[in-house]
Amino acid sequence: MSKSSIAFNGTKEQESQLKSFISAHKSDPGPLIMIMQEAQKIYGYLPEEVQRIISKELNIPMEKVYEVATFYAQFNLVPRGQYHISVCLGTACYVKGSGKILEAIEKQLKIKNGECTADRKFSLDSCRCLGACGLAPVMKVNEEVYGKLTPDMVSKILAEFK
């Protein structure tokens, strides 16, 4: 994971919300992950600017924050789009060709797996098993599940959200 190319648009309110959360919890034992979760709740993701706030407020090196952010799958370094797409690359879906589905989405949205479109409308991720192997290959757009996909169905589905 590396820096997101999408400009940070955090507000003063978000910053003060995060800072007051940190000052309330900084003396708790091992507060870092909890603070990072809260920051993600506030901003939707953990860009460099947000990690810097956490580092400065806790007086710990920024690398300590980044280390945790890149270790746990729960933390996003790029923003989530209005519509978040998750393509299942679990065994069943993969065998049924979900790799091709992912490729088709990447091509259509002109972003790579793990990225977000510049207008923040769509973000794309892969996941491991949504528990609907009978419908393989499967993907999710926000909470909506789409099954028995073929690459040429992709543009039609995405059009629903434009």
């Binding site: 460099e48 710990i60 090196p61 690398e63 980044y66 890149t70």
Partner: protein
């Protein structure tokens, strides 16, 4: 010092006990075991290693217990008290009734435990682990800078591994050469995390860590920021603890050789006090060998026009810094405590992390820079050499010096004539000596050139933590008291303790309270105290590296095996204290060539001319 002495006694006693245990087995008396370690309530446990009975103190790990019994278990990531994370899985051993192999470095012993260190299962596991590490390691052992002392190579050899057993994808990596002092080549990194532990725990800098997860894990900085853009202090402690060739200094050695080969250039070298205490190690001598004479001879044979000693400038530093201290103590209004400014890693640290405390820092340049400044002004003038033709080179125990020589305000002779042109580490010099076919062992002992090779005992001890303090006290005490002092030994500030404090009554009504810290994690303690207004010292010495320059980031690498069992820093420091003790002149202000330098050039310490050439200013920075 006292504490160190006690420790040695304790160690000896432990050995005795184990020796006894071997012969009389269960008969080790309670009276003897009491002395072993009061922390663990004097209790010894009965254990069995490879079928033989031993005793080991409660609280020991399997690794420690085996070491007491002189049974060696190989390790890779383990560094005592620093990196005890059981990451590499090299030290796996078998324990009777345990479900799986256990990591000896962290597994605590219990009464009756039966340990097996060399079963087929253990040996095969160890071999496979090394083979898997090698499968993701770029092996250019023929040209690798660590070929001679690579810990991974040694493990591979000792365990007869097949280095091509597992072929496949390798973690994608890039070489980071953004920092001025080092190169990180993650294609050789074994992810032992020793560098990370050194950076965060010893130095409390923490600009490197493990990014990503699983196969994609690499050592790096946040958002893959190049190291040169972080608040790295350039101390090089990460290089010192790296078991392989993933971290090494950026070298100007070839440029130095080019300058030597250029007949137009007058190439002068200076060597730091701490280099003589360690360089012989690179040629197989035991830790604690003084290599001064052979080092001087080697430098002459390399072809330097003059071989001088940074010690000369260390004496000069004491004159300037001592005068500054005396002035500050006398002035009442001046900022106290004053802190030493010899260590460029430390300077970078305070600039990054405590910029508000910069007024506490002495304005003196480091001895290296004072030397260069004097060389290109006084020496050039006196010997009618155009300073533009002088190439000023230093051999330093330090990687931060590579940063320091490029700092602003470090060219006393004028623009385009930096005080220092190149600096090399102890390791680089050793490599150069080997490369040029100079046989260290048959070198004669030679002496430094005059006049900038003249030194005193006070200068020699600059290389150990507490040395600058002691040297300054030797001079300042005599000036403040107005008479010769009886004792020149300030033993309270010696030794390898992270923070040392002492008070000295110079004369009636004048007591000087001092503190010494080495390793920037320890420095933080003193700096926080200053910030809180709780530090009533007049003078503080801070060295960036733990133990001072004898353990600098440019010094010969000490393998983990030795690090974990020998106090190598103390042994190196003893070289310097021994040399100091044997010298006729032991106070900086008694150095005849320093006296001459002031008479002929600078006037008196702290003069305007001295200020221009020998003092500097600092920059406020931020940290990442």
């Amino acid at each position: 010092m006292k504490k160190t002495a006690k420790k040695t006694v304790a160690k000896k006693t432990t050995k005795k006990v184990v020796a006894k245990a071997k012969t009389t087995k269960a008969k080790a008396t309670k009276a003897t075991t009491k002395k072993v370690d009061s922390k663990v309530q004097n209790k010894m446990l009965n254990i069995k290693i490879n079928g033989i009975d031993y005793k080991a103190p409660v609280g020991s790990t399997i690794l420690e217990a085996c070491r007491l019994a002189n049974i060696e278990i190989p390790t890779l990531c383990f560094l005592k008290d620093l990196n005890e994370i059981a990451a590499c899985r090299i030290c796996m051993v078998e324990v009777k009734n345990a479900r799986s192999l256990v990591a000896a470095c962290v597994y605590p012993i219990n009464e009756g435990i039966e340990i097996f260190t060399n079963t087929k299962r253990v040996v095969e596991s160890r071999k496979k682990t090394i083979e898997l590490i090698l499968s993701n390691h770029r092996m250019d052992c023929l040209s690798c800078v660590r070929s001679g002392n690579c810990e991974l190579l040694a493990l591979a050899r000792a365990n007869g591994v097949d280095d091509t057993k597992y072929q496949g994808a390798k973690t994608p990596t890039k070489i980071d050469d953004s920092a001025v002092h080092l190169i990180r080549d993650n294609s050789k990194c074994v992810l032992c995390r020793r560098c990370i532990a050194a950076c965060s725990k010893l130095q409390s800098v923490g600009v490197i860590g493990t990014n990503n997860r699983g196969f994609k894990t690499i050592v790096g900085s946040q958002f893959d920021m190049p190291l040169g853009e972080t608040s790295c202090v350039h101390c090089g402690q990460c290089i010192n603890v790296c078991p392989v060739g993933a971290l090494y200094e950026k070298s100007d050695a070839d440029k130095v050789l080019d300058a030597i080969r250029d007949p137009e250039k007058f190439v002068v070298v200076q060597t730091a006090p701490a280099v003589r205490a360690t360089i012989a190690e690179e040629f197989g001598a035991p830790i604690g060998t003084n290599g001064e004479g052979k080092m001087v001879a080697a430098l002459r044979r390399i072809g330097f026009d003059k071989v001088f000693d940074t010690d000369f400038a260390a004496d000069l530093t004491i004159m300037e810094e001592g005068t500054e201290l005396i002035d500050r103590i006398k002035s009442k209004k001046a900022v106290l405590p004053m802190i030493t400014s010899c260590s460029p890693g430390w300077i970078k640290f305070i600039e990054n992390y405590y910029p508000d405390l910069l007024p506490h820092l002495s304005t003196c340049k480091s001895p290296q820079q004072m030397f260069g400044a004097t060389l290109k002004t006084y020496y050039a003038h006196k010997n009618k050499i155009d300073p533009k033709k002088i190439v000023s080179v230093s051999i330093m125990p330090c990687t931060a010096k590579k940063f320091e020589i490029h700092r602003e305000d470090q060219s006393a002779a004028g623009k385009g004539m930096p005080d220092l042109d190149y600096t090399m580490t102890t390791r680089e010099l050793a490599r150069m000596i080997k490369k040029l076919g100079i046989d260290w062992n048959s070198l004669p002992e030679e002496e430094f050139d005059s006049p900038m090779g003249t030194d005193t005992g006070a200068a020699v001890i600059f290389g150990a933590s507490g040395g600058v303090m002691e040297a300054a006290l030797r001079t300042a005490a005599e000036v403040l008291a107005g008479k010769k002092m009886k004792s020149l030994d300030y033993k309270e500030v010696r030794g390898m303790k992270g923070i040392k404090e002492a008070s000295y009554t110079i004369k009636k009504g004048l007591t000087v309270k001092v503190a010494v810290a080495s390793g920037t994690a320890n420095a933080r303690v003193l700096l926080d105290a200053i910030r809180e207004g709780k530090a009533d010292y007049q003078f503080i010495e801070i060295m960036c590296c733990p133990g001072g320059c004898i353990n600098g980031g440019g010094q010969p690498q000490v393998s983990a095996h030795i690090r974990n069992t020998v106090d190598f820093r103390q042994k190196r420091a003893e070289v310097l204290y021994k040399q100091d003790k044997s010298m006729k002149l032991r106070k900086s202000h008694e150095n005849p060539d320093i006296q001459k330098l002031y008479k002929e050039w600078f006037g008196k310490p702290g003069s305007e001319k001295a200020h221009h050439a020998l003092h500097t200013s600092y920059v406020k920075r931020d940290w990442t």
